[in-house]
Amino acid sequence: MTATLDSAHRAAQNAEISLAQAVNRALRDAMTADDKVVVFGEDVGVLGGVFRVTDGLTRDFGEQRCFDTPLAEAGIMGTAIGMAMYGFRPVVEMQFDAFSYPAFEQIASHLAKMRNRTRGTLPLPVVVRVPYGGGIGGVEHHSDSSEGYFVSTPGLHVVTPATVSDAYTLLRAAIESDDPVIFMEPKRLYWSKDVLSTTGPEIGRAVVRRQGSDATLIAYGPTVSTALETAEAARDEGYDLEVVDLRSIVPFDDETVCASVRKTGRAVVIHEAAGFGGTGAEIAARVSERCFHWLEAPVRRVTGFDIPYPPPKLERHHLPSVDRILDAVASLQWEDR
């Protein structure tokens, strides 16, 4: 009997789950572990969220722990702040990327600043889940990559998983953090599946997803898989590429990133957001500064164009593709070859 249970348990453990399910599991486990954790937002209750990420939480934890709100993002953010002031640990959902913008003042002027403002007496352990990124054929406003707005707002942590396991571990860590965390969920990966591992590095650590010696691809969230694909494709073209998955943009893991670039001497930064003033600018700038004497070529960026996110039928031209990254790699001044 125990054996049967154990093997069922093991089987369950080895079963693949989707990234959306991993987020759901992290929410459940956090809600079970700490009854101050509450989940709310638009349609997160009975419906279970438009991506089913909060599926079953209201049923299993009750309306007091997971609830629908009126349709108002500043209100969601502001009430989350008020609840956190009273000792709760709210996890709120902004239904889609561009719909966090109405909450921007609450995020920039309060969420990011309350701890500092009060010299640490009023920390705000709030997690803001933002499904983001393109490649899903969404109509306007449903494919933005808004991470840059948060990344440049001191006081926020900004993390983004690229794998099923990171979705779980980073979210658990985010909920446990006493600081506000913007949790960017690459919605294109919601249905990607993998076996879940519930242990992982802390917030603030990048990981090398693939070892390589010729150049480093630096990616996060939805572009990590594109980077890995590129590395595979590059092998045929004679390049041995290393892939770094940032996982956390703030704090930034200079150590891992710089160690990789110093080893390879070349770097390409990849993200979906528009390039100009995007997060890749920061990465390229700091890598260029910190690895100056190791660099064989300028750091290249492969990003979305400096345009509003295009309609579905054109988005494939906009998003970083394997080809475009390969082109960037090829441009890294390989005269010595």
Partner: protein, 411 residues
């Protein structure tokens, strides 16, 4: 057809008094059974036979458009479609009360209105087909692009109305909004600006009882959304949103008041979203069939038909002509939406600014070079074909799955 005037519900001071506003029972001229309630004056323009028949025709055609669009989603010819089936009295009644010179601010749900205004169905569906964000010329049709970020169109309407007034024109701006949208800060700010400026704006809330899955009771604690008018010192009225005569009448009254300089009006039209939020939503997760059945029995088109039959206006010829027009529209949609339109990658850069920045010129050139290279490779080299196809392809299996779920969420 005898229609009696009831001065206390019509006339000049009609939607202004608090008493009217605070009574949450909606105005109705066509009752649930399709009978005229008799409170409208006989000479109300909405009751003129040719007007009633025009309304009928627009309702038949509008519904056919909606059904056809839903069909085309199932066939994969449209990415997503938020249906307004059952809300046609609002969609169409409001449009019929406007002049062509008035401005209209639709949401993602208001394709039927746009078609009623005269916009080409294919251009109407450009957004939902994924070709471009807006398929028609907003200036020509005095119709803003369909707005997705909820309630953000309301301040545009307030501003445009104020501008028209400053310009000395008698233009009115009408913005649609959902029950959910009324919770957004922009809704509040828009109504307040319009009231302070006494701008000729009409804020028309289609209270279809749900914001995706969230029912009205979780959206407001007030007895009626129209009550919000009180806080802005604004005219407010609650109307039966499945009664196309009542809708036309209250919008016409609001427009008349707006043109006369008497300021904005908040209209709450009580209706029901018969379909799921969009094709991809599963409404059974959050509401039960009996509720839907109840509202089915209040169908706005059926009510109008009953009424027209009762007054002898609905001849076979009228019905045949309307159906013919509807089928012609559906045929045209099938044909033209069946074609895959050319998309031009250069459009990515063309309209970001009046003149592309040097940065955009560089990027456009880089993309062009990339595509030219792909083409060369494809032409001259077999391996190239593979390379060209290696890019991210949203129509792949994963993309399609996500597209469906994404489609479910708010448009």
């Amino acid at each position: 057809m005898t229609v009696l005037a009831t001065p206390d519900k019509t006339g000049s001071d009609f939607p202004l008094g608090f008493a009217t506003i605070l009574d949450p029972s909606p105005l109705q001229y066509l009752d649930e059974h399709g009978a005229l309630s008799g409170v409208l004056r006989d000479d109300a323009p909405e009751l003129a036979p040719e007007r009633l028949l025009g309304t009928y025709r627009a309702m038949v055609v509008g519904r056919r458009f909606d059904v056809q669009a839903t069909t085309m989603v199932r066939q994969g010819r449209l990415a997503v479609y938020p249906s307004s089936y059952g809300q046609e009295a609002c969609e169409i009644g409001a449009m019929l009360a406007l002049r062509p010179t008035d401005w209209f601010f639709p949401t993602y749900r208001d394709c039927v209105s746009m078609v009623t205004r005269g916009i080409d169905p294919v251009q109407t569906l450009t957004l939902l087909r994924g070709d471009w964000h807006c398929g028609y010329d907003p200036r020509r049709w005095r119709t803003a692009p369909q707005c997705t970020p909820l309630a953000t169109q309301a301040p545009h309407a307030a501003g445009l109305a104020h501008a028209a007034r400053l310009a000395g024109d008698d233009t009115v701006a009408l913005a649609f909004c959902g029950d959910g949208g009324t919770s957004e800060g922009d809704f509040h700010e828009a109504l307040n600006f319009a009231a302070v400026y006494q701008a000729p704006a009409i804020f028309f809330v289609q209270n279809n009882q749900y914001a995706i899955s969230v029912p009205l009771a979780k959206q407001t604690h007030a007895a009626a959304l129209a009550h919000k008018a009180v806080g802005y010192g604004m005219a407010g009225v609650r109307v039966d949103g499945n009664d196309v005569i009542a809708v036309q009448h209250v919008v016409a009254e609001a427009a008349t008041r707006a043109r006369a300089g008497d300021g904005p009006t908040l209209i709450e039209a009580v209706t029901y979203r018969m379909q799921a939020h969009t094709n991809a939503d599963d409404a059974t997760r959050y509401r039960n069939a009996s509720e839907v059945e109840y509202w089915k029995s209040r169908d706005p088109l059926a009510r109008l038909e009953t009424c027209l039959k009762a007054c002898g206006l609905l001849t076979d010829a009228v019905v045949a002509e309307a159906n013919q027009a509807a089928e012609a529209l559906a045929d045209d949609m099938r044909a033209r939406l069946g074609e895959e339109p050319e998309v031009d990658h250069r459009d990515l850069f063309r309209h970001v600014y009046a003149e592309p920045t040097p940065q955009l010129r560089e990027q456009a050139a880089a993309l062009q070079a990339e595509l030219d290279a792909d083409l060369d490779a494809a032409e001259h080299d077999e391996a190239g074909v593979e390379a060209a196809g290696r890019g991210l392809d949203a129509s792949g299996a994963d993309g399609a799955a996500l597209g469906a779920v994404e489609a479910e969420a708010g448009r």
